[in-house]
Symmetry: C2
Subunit: 153 residues, 2 copies
DNA sequence: AGTGAAATTAACTTCGG
DNA sequence: CCGAAGTTAATTTCACT
């Protein structure tokens, strides 16, 4: 098991907020040399703690501002059905997230589309075309109160 | 209204996947010069379409692998209560996402903590300490089937 | 482990056309 | 939008604490 010291945690916090800042800037915030920062980042990348670097885009500006959470129940829970459902749902690009959850429903999906019309299309032509879906229940997002990409470290 | 051409959309797709690739690499993928890529990125940043650049971290490696979705109902829905609830929930670092949703419950929260014990602490000491919460319903994530950070463009 | 400095490479940024 | 030139930062190495 690899361990992380406080400096690693701080470094990850900074990089989760802004990955474009220079190693110089990070070295000042951390009280380390540029070389040390460089080595630590490389180590975190090598160990897979840092999983990559991505641009965040503004959903509103891109007309992908209609978010819906869909609960899904399967008709059966045999290994076979579960595997097939998960495989098919992964291929739907409107589905950004899919979780197998405890409770009344089996799955919770986060779906992002342009508008209600696009959502209807998605439901009718894609989601409900997947076999073995028992029932669905959609919850529309009225307002995004909070959306953090950074894990709380 | 600002518009985006196909090249902008492609560029955003690439940057949502990997923001550390060089403008040179992007220029090859897009069939443009490095300068053109540079100018387009700057334009997208200026216009707020690109919202920032962040490092993705591996939840598993960092012991933040316990995810719970919490439904919350308020006892009242006066402007005052809603505003106060939203303000307080924003300050909880275990809550990565919070949505005001349609349906039986008022809010859906995505909570990430270390383990069940940490979740219990969170519920008892933080979440249910917020006033005006009527009822809650927690759904534990058994398995993360899909988790895309990139918006489907 | 970390530091500072120096050398190298590569990327970013500006500018004239 | 392009290519070239100038600027800056990332990256690597090394001698030393």
């Amino acid at each position: 098991m690899v361990t992380f010291d406080d400096t690693d945690i701080k470094l990850l916090k900074f990089l989760q907020e802004d990955s474009k800042q220079t190693n110089k800037a990070l070295s000042l915030k951390l009280g380390l040399s540029v070389t040390a920062v460089f080595e630590r980042i490389k180590k975190l990348e090598r160990e897979g703690v840092i999983d990559g670097y991505v641009a965040k885009v503004n959903k509103l500006r891109l007309e992908r501002n209609f978010m819906v959470f869909c609960h899904i129940k399967l008709v059966q829970h045999s290994q076979d059905f579960v595997v097939r459902f998960e495989k098919e749902v992964k291929q739907l690009n409107e589905v950004l997230e899919c979780y197998h959850i405890s409770g009344d429903y089996d799955y919770l999906l986060k779906v992002i589309v342009k508008d209600m019309e696009a959502f209807r299309e998605f439901m009718v032509k894609k989601l409900t075309k997947i076999n073995h879906i028992g029932s669905t229940h959609s919850m529309f997002v009225i307002n995004e109160v909070k959306h953090e990409t950074a894990i709380n470290l």
